[in-house]
Amino acid sequence: MIDANPAENPGERRAAYALVSPAWVAFVVLLAGPSLAVVVLSLTDWQLGAPTMNFIGLGNYEQLFADRVFWKSFTNTFVYCLVVVPGSVFLGLGLALLIEGATFGRAFYRAAYFLPVTSTLIAMAVVWEFLLHPSVGLINVVLEQVGIRGGDWLKNPSRALFTLAGIGIWQSAGLNMILFMAGLKAIPPDLYEAAEIDGAASVWERFRCVTWPMLGPATLFVTVVSGIRSFQVFDTVEVLTKGGPNKATEVLLYTMYTEAFNFFRTGYGAAITVVFLVVVLALTLLQVKAGEKRTHYG
């Protein structure tokens, strides 16, 4: 049916409004309202529980952009993303290609590599803390066997952020693998046959001529999704480093959390949230663009 005549049937319209109203109320009260309130709060000097609230314009932002800790936190978050995104995307792609090309054991590999994605990250962070223990941790013990002194992974300021990034890659590679597998499934098999007839004989050539170009949009999508996810890094920081040592692992959400919920500087925390939101929304718009491209391939 052509759908050019909405609202033509009063009974249908009444029923529709009744059906959507709970969701509409929940949306306004729980999501839209608070998300807009963050922006308003970021323009005030309010502290939770304080009797007065003054509009101070962009005061919080001026303070924020003058704060070395904020810039440290901002840079750390980006460095973290710049390690985790390529790491987990390439690992995910490699795994997807290796596993989909295997003649047996595919379901087993898929499940096993996916396991870290579903496991509770906080619990696994505690396990990692133990694995990374400088003297009795599995990692250093294994390294010792081959004659390497592992040192301290979480208390060394030049290393701590990368250690967290390593855990981030471990946790999200399986997710990217699954997304790439969906992308691979969407490639029509006759393309490979066509490529073969056209002379793409080696595995590498077929990858270069068919898989990679067909997977391009999926790769963009996976990359952006990974970016958004790793930009939200928080759990491992809170459990393993508390932003330390010496702000070496201070990340945006962690700074927001301490300002807003430990020091109750609500307005200031809201300003950090707005910065966070702007970056995530920018990445999301990229994802929407990637999604549009992706649909070309059905």
Binding site: L30, L31, Y113, T118, I122, A123, T273
Partner: protein, 278 residues
């Protein structure tokens, strides 16, 4: 893809995959292994998977008595179950109306849902906290559940599903005397089971594993969700009594891992659909 792979190719492929597997699964294996060992073996630098002297009973007993582990798991079930149930109650009627009914404002509402999909969960945290503070609901189950009742993802996913149900089915039901709400309950819901399961998987995994929000709103140990409980436990132990600690993490991790192993296909479907979007 690789229909003409050589034997060497096969061996190489599996060698790489198994090597990667060892690294990926090492934390799980070591977690379980440590949870079975007595302290002197944990602190020895000799590598062995199985303990010489089994200390599983001690470790697990200690884990369950030091902190209310079962309570944490129960909290996890109450919170994730409560969230998912309320999400369904709110999302399904809305998704049905968006997919199948014609009404003024439909496009605006759907745009709102799409915008809702883009907003990360941490963005509205401060005002939500303030609201709960104002109504005196901090540190309660309500604080853990209510903020997540609106799920843009759920509405979006279910709408896409309802769109695939033929209009004729709905028309037949109207002629048979069903109202819109009854069409939703009697016709659409039974058909939507697969999509609801995918939604359920995403919702449950997201909220079972969520740490940021419980950390903010919960002070009382009795209300801790599994991740928050893990942290309480870790802090209690001051990070030294690894046997019971690992036993605790085994217990906390087990439910979702088992759920995943039992319903792999739904997990992978749900995750693929959402890009793991909460």
């Amino acid at each position: 893809m690789n229909r003409r792979g050589t034997l060497l190719g096969h061996i190489l492929r599996h060698a790489v995959l198994i090597f990667g597997l060892v690294i990926m699964l090492a934390p799980f294996v070591w977690m379980i292994s440590t949870s079975l060992k007595p302290p002197n073996e944990i602190f020895s630098t000799k590598l062995s998977l199985l303990p010489n002297n089994w200390a599983a009973a001690e470790n697990y007993t200690k884990a369950f008595t030091k902190v209310p582990l079962l309570r944490y798991l129960l909290n996890g079930v109450i919170v994730t179950g409560g969230i998912f149930l309320l999400q369904l109650i709110v999302s399904l009627p809305c998704a049905y109306a968006l997919a199948k009914l014609r009404f003024k404002g439909r496009d605006i509402l759907f745009t709102m849902v799409l915008i809702g999909l883009m907003i990360p969960a941490q963005a509205p945290a401060i005002p939500r906290y303030v609201m709960l503070y104002e109504v005196g609901l901090l540190d309660s189950y309500a604080a853990l559940i209510v903020p997540f009742v609106f799920s843009a993802f759920g509405i979006f996913l279910m709408r896409q599903f309802f769109k695939t149900v033929p209009d004729d089915l709905m028309h037949a039901a109207r002629l048979d005397g069903l109202g819109e709400f009854e069409i939703l309950c009697r016709i659409m819901l039974p058909l939507a089971m697969p999509a609801m399961l995918a939604f359920g998987v995403i919702s449950i995994v997201t909220h079972w594993n969520d740490f940021f929000w419980p950390l903010i709103v919960i002070q009382t140990g009795d209300l801790a969700t599994p991740p928050l409980g893990t942290l309480f436990f870790r802090n209690e132990e001051a990070g030294s009594d690894f046997g019971p600690l690992m036993a605790g993490t085994v217990v906390i991790t087990a439910p979702l891992v088992l759920l995943f192993l039992a319903a792999q296909r739904r997990f992978i479907e749900g995750v693929t659909l959402s890009g793991m979007k909460g």
